[in-house]
Symmetry: C2
Subunit: 253 residues, 2 copies
Amino acid sequence: MHFTSETSSNGVIERNFTLDEITGVLWSPTSATVGAPLLLFGHAGGMHKKAPGLVASALHSVTTYGFAVAAIDAPGHGDRSRDLQDQQWVEAIHRARAAVEPIAAIGIDYNMSLAERAVPEWQATLDALQALPEIGAEAPVGYGGMTLGVVTGLMLTAVESRIAALSIGGVFVHDALIEAARKITVPVEYRIPWDEDEIDHAAAIALFDAFGSTDKAMHAHPGRHNQVPEYERDSSVRFFARHLGRAADTASD
Amino acid sequence: MHFTSETSSNGVIERNFTLDEITGVLWSPTSATVGAPLLLFGHAGGMHKKAPGLVASALHSVTTYGFAVAAIDAPGHGDRSRDLQDQQWVEAIHRARAAVEPIAAIGIDYNMSLAERAVPEWQATLDALQALPEIGAEAPVGYGGMTLGVVTGLMLTAVESRIAALSIGGVFVHDALIEAARKITVPVEYRIPWDEDEIDHAAAIALFDAFGSTDKAMHAHPGRHNQVPEYERDSSVRFFARHLGRAADTASD
């Protein structure tokens, strides 16, 4: 893991890094504590490691709870070059959108391909992060994500025992996700954007029911997946604080 | 409205009151502000105005947010005598429980009868509370309730324009509730105890869909209706704070 830049603002250190082909970013408090929880954030499809909502949640997590937060670009996203097959998928999605046709089928194949490649990348990233003296191997780890980041997160959590809590929202449901969810037993907080035309409510609830976790919560919120209310972002960070063992400095409970 | 007792502890004044046949309680901060939000809490079936969960939420609302909170006993509950017909319903429910038979049908009739009587009682109570100088007619009003308290709350909110926000959880769904929900347009936060055997998930979600509110959220939580997680109680108070306009003194957002 090579840090390529470091800036500091309002109590948060932001460091960009590379790890082989992976491009990522790590946010941590200037007054970092070894062993504080580490959150891995998976961005939505078409976005990148510094998507505005992701950054807002990351900064809130760092400044309010003292967490460290890492995000990496999915293959072909953000600072990474896109290969020919990914380019063809993206063009197919653009064509479907322009023709006002459903994109779910194309999106599912594309996201599954990206997630399969991203899982070992996240595992290598987690290895490297845990080797940093300011994080360490004892830090409890949570994963948060949206859309593509949910697909990656479910595939990752199903095979990676270091992920101890999962907060996700907004995804097309398909069989491979249901299968992954059945293997997951860690606490889950799952958000459904109730006004998203392309998300079928019954399928979304079937995913919730599939999780093997006994401690699982579902939140249906108004709006679409890119209109997550601020109180839901806050709920997600509170969820991680409950399960990863770091109380908020300023929270009332 | 006659106050029959007053005690004070940890910054909260608790006053029992009577209003004709109604028996109730009002919690308010010792450092009360005129016009601070007022919450009306409807207790669950078989419980009373000082049910432990209700009291815990009330004290949290008063001490953390400076709200006033009122609760009244449903007809035949708590400090109120039970009439012959209510007694027969209660006995029928006990017989069904003992025989491990479903109680939903009996419970629905009984709860609807109680709710029809409780609506004018809540309206009279609200009139009396708003006439108190320490509350006043400008205080924004929210309603929170569980099981029987949900039935009463939906019937009340459908006809009472002073209720500006509704936080409810755990109820048998039936047609009259769906009809009431269609008339409700204020913000709603609705909790479904996902592990409650007697609550059908699809029916519970149909009630959520029926609300006329554009700003509505649903939370499925683990456990039964009498196992509401503490973070859900806190979420409910935060919901009221967002919609009734009083920021927490100590909350981080």
